[in-house]
């Protein structure tokens, strides 16, 4: 099994991303444009500075009543002629979708962008049954043609230049090489229009379902999700179980914030509410509507008070747009459809803490994500919690301590800090021993063993021969 989460892969992909000047430019562009613009939008809402906290309370309330909301949603959708399937894990979700496809004789599928379908490996499963799956979000379409994975939650092909897309389209669509986004978009528009019109089934995600009214919702700008949920005769919507709110009123603040966080917009261009198939005597719309609600490890997060808050996430990607680490390593290094700060928390929780440990250790805990999150989720707190479980082990999450040598070193240092005389002695010997790792004069240029990572690219100031505590001892007190 090709594990996407090895440290070798993380390191290799990070280095690759860092040395890719075009990618660096693209990431700087996304962050430069959206980071500050999003902040501005938060502060210009009529609710004022407290809006993110309000949004947090709404989401928290919904999560704490998730059982009621899901049952209400399911009952209402069923009332309106839709079918609801509760999938406890990825395999159940996928096999239900395949069953629906088989029942309706589906040969071709058009898809709106949906991270949860990536999470459960839907495309491969459909293709395995000989079903043609066309990603229709322009960014997803591009990477599907290129055989790659998304590198950003909202802008999946952000890592591609217009020249690369032009080359790709020339090869795959047979058009002239034209590195112009307008022309390239038109080419995709034409190619995908055919797919939309011919498709048997449309698959979408769900941004935030409304339990009160029994609708799923999708938010986009391109129109592909509307096409996927209107033109084919079957519509299947995938929904992570936490993506639901109680009332319509909840949508007011949350859709504004989602649009701000995702694209610094007042409101996404298209917001669709789908509550079931249309009646047979209506001119169009799907004849069958299936909603697949997925757990796949989310109930485990729900059960842990330390991580329950993560379920408040509305997948807007505002955190990606400010994270300095994401801005360097890009989305692919995370090995998961969820990248950036949200990925650093969600991926270990869904895929395994030890497996995905580099995602939560490979962050600087700078806190920019918490400031950017429209729902005021304390992502840094959860990164600290994940590190705690990985450092000391955790039975609930099946986490094994990551490094016994490191633990012993930490314990030893802790002991020193509790024994000041020993601490002072250690400080003294360190200042003497450092001549072994550096010239007498000047900074240290080479540190030993695990510390060498620093000195590969940086010098390190020496420990002073007269630390402050020695100078303090000999200082003359003023009168």
């Amino acid at each position: 099994m090709d594990d996407p989460f090895t440290t070798e892969k993380y390191t290799a992909k990070s280095r690759q991303a860092i040395s890719d000047k075009r990618l660096q430019g693209a990431l700087a562009g996304v962050q430069g444009r959206l980071g500050p613009a999003t902040q501005k939008m938060y502060t210009s809402q009529p609710e004022g500075a407290g809006i993110r906290q309000q949004a947090h309370e709404i989401r928290q309330r919904c999560i704490e009543n998730l059982d009621i909301l899901l049952e209400t949603l399911a009952d209402k959708v069923a009332e309106n002629g839709g079918q609801v399937f509760f999938a406890r894990n990825a395999a159940e979700a996928v096999s239900y979708c395949l069953a629906v496809a088989k029942k309706h004789g589906v040969r071709t599928v058009v898809k709106g962008k949906s991270m949860v379908t990536e999470e459960v490996g839907l495309n491969q499963a459909l293709q395995g049954e000989g079903i043609d799956v066309a990603e229709t979000d322009l960014g997803e379409y591009i990477i599907q043609l290129a055989g790659e994975k998304p590198s950003h939650i909202i802008a999946p092909a952000i890592h591609k230049t217009k020249e690369q897309v032009a080359q790709l389209f020339a090869e795959k669509l047979g058009i002239d090489y034209t590195p112009d986004p307008g022309v390239l978009t038109q080419a995709a528009r034409a190619a995908l229009r055919e797919k939309f019109l011919a498709a048997d089934m449309g698959i979408t995600g769900c941004n935030l379902a409304c339990a009160q009214t029994g609708h799923i919702t999708t938010v986009s700008n391109e129109g592909n999700i509307r096409m996927s949920s209107t033109l084919p005769r079957v519509h299947v919507a995938f929904m992570g179980m936490e993506r639901v709110v109680a009332t319509l009123k909840d949508h007011d603040i949350l859709f504004r914030l989602l649009s701000s966080g995702a694209a610094a917009q007042k409101l996404g261009g298209y917001v669709s509410y789908v509550g079931g198939p249309g009646p047979a005597d209506y001119p169009d719309g799907a004849e069958a509507f299936h909603l697949i609600i997925i757990d796949n490890g989310r109930s485990r997060m729900l059960a842990d008070p330390a991580f329950r808050e993560m379920l408040c996430c509305i997948r807007c990607s505002a955190c990606l747009n400010v994270c300095p680490v994401y801005g360097k390593i890009g989305g692919h290094a995370y090995g998961s459809p969820y990248s950036g700060p949200v990925g650093a928390v969600v991926t270990p929780l869904l895929a395994g803490l030890n497996r995905a440990q580099d995602l939560c250790f490979g962050e600087t805990l700078c806190g920019a994500c918490k400031q950017a999150c429209p729902v005021d989720i304390d992502l840094p707190r959860m990164l600290w919690e994940l590190r705690f479980r990985l450092a000391e082990g955790d039975e609930t999450w099946g986490a094994a301590p990551v490094s016994r040598p490191e633990k012993y070193a930490m314990d030893a240092f802790a002991w020193l800090t509790c024994h000041p005389a020993a601490y002072r002695a250690a400080l003294f010997s360190a200042s003497r021993m450092q001549t072994l790792v550096g010239a007498k004069e000047g900074p240290i240029r080479q540190l030993p063993g695990p510390l060498a990572g620093w000195t590969r690219s940086r010098n390190l100031r020496k420990i002073s021969s007269r630390p402050f505590r020695s100078q303090w001892k000999s200082r003359k007190q003023p009168d």
Binding site: E64, L69, R88, G223, G275
Partner: protein, 257 residues
Amino acid sequence: MTQNHRASFINRVRQSLGPDIGPADVRQARIFPQTSDAVTQNLLQTVQSRTTQERETLLTVLMDQALPLNLHVTPVADPAEAAQQIAALVRQKNPEWGEKKALIRWSHPLLDALELESVLADQHIPVHITAMDPHADLQKQRQVIREKTIDSFMGITAADYCVADTATIVMKTYPHQGRAVSLLPAVHVAVITLDQILTNLTELYAVLDDYEKNTPKNGLTHHMVFISGPSKTADIELTMVHGAHGPKEMHIFVVRA
């Protein structure tokens, strides 16, 4: 079909919430308030007592907000003027696919009042309509409507509400209203009336909530869409392009009378 694990799924969620969550009926009442709160009541009152003058102010806001979205908003005195404006658009625009020009519209009283069929008669342009005859073959009619929608370069709809602050039109789906009319043709034209304009999303949701609570079954209908301008994408190098998969161009005509 595959077995649905609803009971064990919900049970797992309930267990995960912990033992102290309290009785379901209490939680149910708290999370789904039966009556609207004071803020919502005030908003509804404001909407109902809005004067024409106040609505004109909202129209100005709508036009300002529409500008950066590449959304064209034009006030007209009456349906006849709207029809003239649409006829002008039809003359100016060329079809995206193919040579023939055709229109498709909803069956709706406001759109009927435009009398587009006769206004466009001199241009010999067919105006299709997404009306269904419940007594005839439904599948066949749907197929025909679908083909006509595909062949139309302009789609005309009405709307249920319009939000000035975000330049959004809101369309539920009632009988004889094709969803693809505002999606497949390259140009989408929406005709609304001045009194349909609301201030912002908060007002909209108050109105929707009130309607939903007072409608016996599915007040929002099985499909509702908010549209805030033509389709667009910035997926290639963050460069904004208008006309991804939905309409490339969008017009709203606001009928004053």
